[in-house]
Subunit: 260 residues, 2 copies
């Protein structure tokens, strides 16, 4: 394998750009997964690996798994520790990173016609929240996650890492807006999650067979247009002093109540 | 108010050190809160404000609230935008930051004797997770949060921000370890959250009047010693493919089931 030791190498430059630039990810159809576990998850999920970067230390430690990644990839490079730190998004790099081709999961959304439980996210901005929602949704067997196009990019490295590989396995679907999505899927019963004492407490809800819970932005919640487009307004009753929950905490409780 | 425009000013240097260095926070008994909402939350909660830093822009926008903060503080400075970026931990600084005296909440833990629902966290490392757990615990009226001393520092700026002010209001208690804490509080019924199909499903549990749910490290879960010290092993049944939940997602569901 070729050893790269220059930050000016085009493969290194492009990887850094993929880490930091959502437009470049969309343009190239590539994204970055870092860490042996996440990369190997991608491999097991049948993801199409473009490039593998590994340090000699990582290769010595995990020769078999990294070998499998390299075999499956279009190209593979050994990089110095210094270069690896340069392309890494983590504080304690493990020395394995893959550039992976994005998946077009749009077609999988026809599952909706056969019934299922869905989560739709409107304008979620924090990659940690998005990653956590994907991971939780997969853990509880949610059918797919719908994200509006103004959400944080699903291929942001923090989302990929936080989702613990769910991004490779869980179908997701990008839509321009909640209202349009719901109007195109009239068989779904929709539940808008709001902070409103007059909304139906989630404890009273039996979620319909084909249903979607809709969760809004961290600071502002759902837009009025999204709330109005939904069949029901639901709320998580809170006994304490705080006025709202973190979006991923709210999503975790809603997914749990929806699916349990 | 004095305007500071040098990074070498001792107040600026110490603030940067407080942001980045947990030992320095412990040594000085000071920590940093950033953003008008978090700072004003601290003020409303009766926190003891050491220093206020504000940009002229922020002062022009929110003269009354920043004025109240300044009145309550030992000292206050106007800083240039450049200096503010230097002491800020956020990507889009709002121009208000306070240095606040840490609270000694240990004494409040005698509440435990009167019954209550508690969350105990062992070796939680991610400040986003810790902040979310504090915020969720406050929202649902948890009596106090117990953290082992190897958890991420509760005064880490990301925890302070993520907790949305819960860190100023919710009693918390730092302990050396779970086993010792439980042995010192024998009236508490303790529930270890584990990923184990043989543990009791959380859906079957009626949490005792005085009880504590114990949640472990992001990667490794609870230590064996913590699990063995607990009265019960509980688990969140999952129907999907993922093998575990993010620690804050698990905590959100456990708090919800414990308190609802």
């Amino acid at each position: 394998m070729l050893t790269l030791s220059s930050k000016d190498n085009i493969n290194i430059k492009n990887t850094v750009k993929l880490l930091n630039n959502a437009k470049f990810r969309r343009k190239t159809g590539l994204f970055v997964a870092e860490g042996l576990r996440v990369c190997y998850d991608a491999f097991l999920s049948g993801a199409d690996i473009d490039t593998v970067f590994a340090t000699q230390g990582a290769l010595d430690k995990h020769p078999e798994k990294i070998g499998e990644l390299c075999e499956k990839s279009d190209r593979a490079f050994i990089v110095t520790n210094e270069i690896f730190s340069h392309i890494s998004d983590t504080q304690t790099p493990q020395g394995v990173l893959c550039v992976i081709k994005t998946l077009d999961k749009v077609t999988e959304f026809d599952k909706i016609k056969n019934g299922g439980k869905f989560i739709a996210l409107e304008n979620i901005q924090d990659p940690n929240n998005l990653g956590t929602v994907l991971r939780t949704a997969e853990a509880f067997g949610v059918s797919a996650v719908v994200v509006t196009s103004d959400c944080c990019d699903i291929y942001n490295p923090k989302v990929v890492r936080g989702s613990m590989g769910a991004v490779f396995r869980l179908p997701f679907y990008t839509v321009s807006g909640i209202a349009q999505f719901l109007s195109e899927n009239p068989d779904l019963t929709s539940y808008a999650a709001v902070v409103d004492k007059d909304a139906e407490p989630i404890t009273n809800i039996s979620f319909a067979k084909s249903s979607v819970a809709v969760i809004g932005n961290e600071g502002n919640g759902l837009t009025e247009s999204a709330v109005n487009a939904c069949n029901h307004k639901i709320t998580i009753p809170m006994g304490g002093k705080a006025e709202s929950l973190n979006a991923s905490a709210a999503a975790s409780i809603i997914i749990w109540e929806m699916v349990k």
